[in-house]
Each structure stands twice: as C-alpha cells, then as structure tokens.
C-alpha cells in the first residue's frame, strides 16, 4: 500500500454565515488520482482551493505527509512548493515570457540554479510540444498552449501533489484533448499524485482511481472510479451522471 500523502478530516468551511463545505473527509495516497466531480456550485473549486491554502477553513484538519498543516500564511507558502496548482484561467504572468513564467517559482522561491532549471524547463517544453515557445509572451499563445505552460510552471517546482481546478473549462473544444492527454500522461507515466476538478467525465473515468462526488458542499460518495461510473450508490450521483449525458 502506497503511503498516504494528504488527508482531510472533518473539514468545514463558511463564507460568513453560509456553510460552503460540510464535514469533508478523504485521503489521497502517493501516485493516486482523485477526480472531484459534482454539479456546478457544489463546492468543488472551494474544496480544491482549501487544499493549498487559497481558501481558509474554519474547522477540521488537513494533514500533509503525516504532518498536520498549521493554517497560517507562512506554512502555506512553504507547502505550496510541494502542492502545485493549475487554474481554469491559466493565469500566466503577462509581463513575463514563457520561460520567465516557468523560472519564477524555482529561482525565486526555491532559490535553485537558473541554468539547471532552464535546462529542465526546456525538456518539459519539448515534451509537451512547446519547444519553440520559450521566448513568446502569453498573449501570443492559444489557450491550450497557455494551459500546458501553466502545467509546466507547476511541474518544474517538483510538487508531490498537483491540483487541477477545471483546467479545460475555458478552452476551445479542439484544445481540450491536448491538455487532457498531458494530464493522463502525468498520471500513467509519471505516477503523479493528482486531484482533478473536472466536468470531463469520460476523462475522469479513464484516469481517476477514486471519485469524490460533491453536492451542496457535502461528499455524497467516495468510491473507486470504476464503481462510481458503472454502479453509483446514491440516487443523486445517478441523476448527476444521467444529466451529464455520460
């Protein structure tokens, strides 16, 4: 059995008086891929954002590599070097080139040698078919290219866990495939530990080991992907799968 990388216990989150997440419990092991699915507004993004400290939570604990996370600014700043995140809107820094975007974290946060990181970045760019784009600015790139670069920007930090928050949701349909392929490759070849918020259920069925089905801020179902897609346990999950035309 692989070691447990992150575990979430009894997590509650409020926005003012409104409770966004209710008693969330789950854990993820090294090399495992979790798909976080559910209707819009169910709290998927909120949950994945709490996992690297972008959203505060009011109750419960997050444990990373066996250590309970102290939810303050400095601890999260440190932890984020281990937990990469990719967003729906790519959010490359427009004033930096592709290479500048990729180098920022490793050289400024991790204080690694620029030459060494550059060589690694170049390899990743080649691997993801972006070798010619190192000196381009984000505005010169397509959405799919930007998202692949955002993934490289996170990977080059050598994270132990990658979080993907609806990374294909704002892409043109013909760009989606390329990004999904990269994620699949990361899962199968690199055995990267990943949590993926997605509406692409076919993709989720292909890469995920575990599915968390979230609705109204509650985890309705935590099962193996196989079970979830062939034989969902709750009526809500059945309705959801039917509504998604899966």
């Amino acid at each position: 059995m692989a070691t447990e990388l992150m575990r979430v216990d009894h997590l509650d989150k409020y926005y003012g008086d409104w409770q966004a997440l209710h008693n969330i419990n789950f854990s993820i092991h090294e090399g495992e891929v979790i798909a976080l699915v559910g209707p819009s507004g169910s709290g998927k993004s909120t949950l994945i954002r709490t996992l690297n400290g972008l959203e505060p939570y009011q109750k419960g604990t997050i444990t990373f590599e066996g250590k309970k996370v102290t939810p303050d600014k400095v601890s999260w700043q440190k932890l984020r070097q281990e937990i990469g995140m990719v967003f729906q809107s790519y959010d490359l820094f427009p004033n930096l080139t592709v290479m500048g975007n990729i180098l920022l974290g490793p050289t400024k946060v991790q204080k690694r040698d620029e030459g060494e990181v550059k060589a690694e970045a170049q390899k990743l760019l080649e691997r993801f078919e972006l070798a010619d784009q190192a000196d381009a600015y984000p505005r010169q790139l397509s959405g799919g290219q930007k998202q692949r670069i955002a993934i490289i920007r996170a990977l080059v930090m050598h994270p132990k866990l990658m979080l993907f928050d609806e990374v294909t949701a704002s892409l043109d349909p013909e760009m989606v495939r390329g990004v999904l392929n990269i994620m699949q490759e990361l899962a199968k070849k690199d055995h990267m530990t990943m949590i993926i918020v997605t509406h692409e259920l076919t993709f989720a069925a292909k890469v995920a080991d575990q599915v968390l089905f979230l609705e109204d801020g509650r985890l309705r179902e935590t099962t193996s992907a196989k079970q979830f897609f062939t034989n969902p346990q709750t009526d809500r999950a059945k309705e959801f799968l039917a509504s998604m035309d899966y």
Binding site: N52, G53, L54, K73, V74, Q77, K78, R80, Q81, G84, M85, F87, S89, D91, L92, F93, P94, N95, L96, L104, G105, K108, V109, Q110, R139, A150, R153, A154, M157
Partner: protein, 227 residues
C-alpha cells in the same frame, strides 16, 4: 507694418528669453513630476495596505488637492510659507513644492487604482507558486500595475506641463510671463505682437506636450488590443 509683430520675436534677446522661460516651465514641471511621482507611489502603496486611519488621512489629502484649484495652492504656498513659517525660497521652488504636493495626491490615486486592478487570479497564481508577500508585490503586482498606471501617468504629466502656465501668477519667469513682458514692451509700436508671441507659446507648449499625449493614446490602444 501688419507683419512687423513677427520681427519682435527675434529682436534683441527676445527669442532666447522666451526659450529660457520655456526651460523654466519645463524643469519645474519635470521636478514636480519626479518628486510628486515618488511620493505618489509611496502614498498609493500605503493606501492599498495600511489601516483605516492611514487610508483616511491619505484620502483626505487627495480630496483636498483635487478640490482646491491649483492657483489657490500656488498662492497658499507663495504667501503663507514666507509669512507664517519664515520660509524664503525663490518662487520657482515654491512652485515645485506646490506642484509636487498636487502631483503626489493625484498620482497616489493612479497608483492605488493600478495596484488594486491587478486581477485577483494573478495574485493567486503567484501564491500557488509559493511566493511570499514581498515577492508577490515585486514580481506580480508591481510590473502589472506599472502597465496599468502608465497611460494615467503620462496624462498627469501633460496636465502638469500645461498647468505651469499659472506660474506667472506667483511671479515666476516662465514662458508666459516673459511673453507677457515682451508684449507689453512692444504693444504700442507693434499691435500684432500679441498674436505672434502667444502663437509661438502655443506652438512651444504643443511641441512639449504633444509627444506625451501621442504616447498615451498609443498605449491605450495597445492595451485594448492585448485584451
């Protein structure tokens, strides 16, 4: 005799004096923009972070300088500082002081607006890389705020240059004041002098200001294309 007024421009040292006056206007504007810009960046930065009281003080400061006409500011500095505080600087430095305070107020608002307009997503993307607050400011907020503030900065600079035309009111020998002297000395003999002198001043201000406003317009157009 109808076109004799133009000769006045080149009689004696008149042209050199006008250019000297223009130089006075330009360096007063340049120093005010420089000092006011530095103060404005500081004030604008403080207004994005500090506590409510500090914010309120800077806000009042901004409103005061925005509401009070620049002429009044010039007079306040010119008359009150020497009398009440025994500060006896030359009028040119009084002008730099008044303009600096005005530019700092207006610029703090441009800087604050620009810093606050950097999209939240961008900050989060930086946070997700593990950047600390200082690094976020330096590598994410500041470069993007700079882009956002640039058109407003240039616009303010052109306004400062134009407003130097008020300097004659506190007896600074700027280009308008010198022009006025030349007109008064020659008006009886050459009644058309006034057109030539102010015509030249019009062109001089245009030459100084137009490149700036052209640059600003180009930047605004480019930023629209990027989006």
């Amino acid at each position: 005799m109808a076109h004799s007024g133009i000769n006045v421009l080149f009689a004696g040292h008149n042209f050199a004096r006008l250019m000297g006056g223009l130089w006075t206007s330009v360096w007063i504007a340049a120093l005010s923009i420089l000092f006011g810009g530095i103060l404005g960046i500081l004030f604008g930065f403080l207004r994005t972070r500090s506590n409510r009281l500090v914010k309120l003080i800077f806000r009042l400061y901004l409103e005061f300088f925005r509401i009070v006409p620049t002429v009044v500011l010039l007079f306040l500095v010119y008359y009150i500082l020497p009398r009440q505080f025994n500060v006896n600087w030359p009028g040119t430095w009084m002008a730099v002081l008044a303009f600096t305070l005005w530019v700092a107020a207006e610029y703090s608002d441009i800087v604050r607006g620009a810093l606050e307009s950097v999209p939240k997503h961008q900050i989060e993307a930086g946070e997700a890389l593990g950047l600390n607050d200082r690094q976020l400011f330096w590598y994410v907020s500041l470069p993007q705020a700079f882009q956002l503030a640039l058109p407003g900065t240039i616009n303010l600079a052109t306004r400062v240059i134009k407003t130097t035309s008020l300097l004659m009111l506190i007896s600074v020998m700027d280009v308008i004041n010198i022009g006025q002297q030349i007109i008064e000395a020659n008006n009886n003999e050459h009644p058309t002098t006034v057109f030539w002198v102010y015509g030249l001043i019009f062109i001089l201000y245009f030459i100084v200001d137009y490149p700036l406003s052209w640059w600003e317009r180009r930047l605004r157009k480019n930023s629209k294309e990027v989006k």
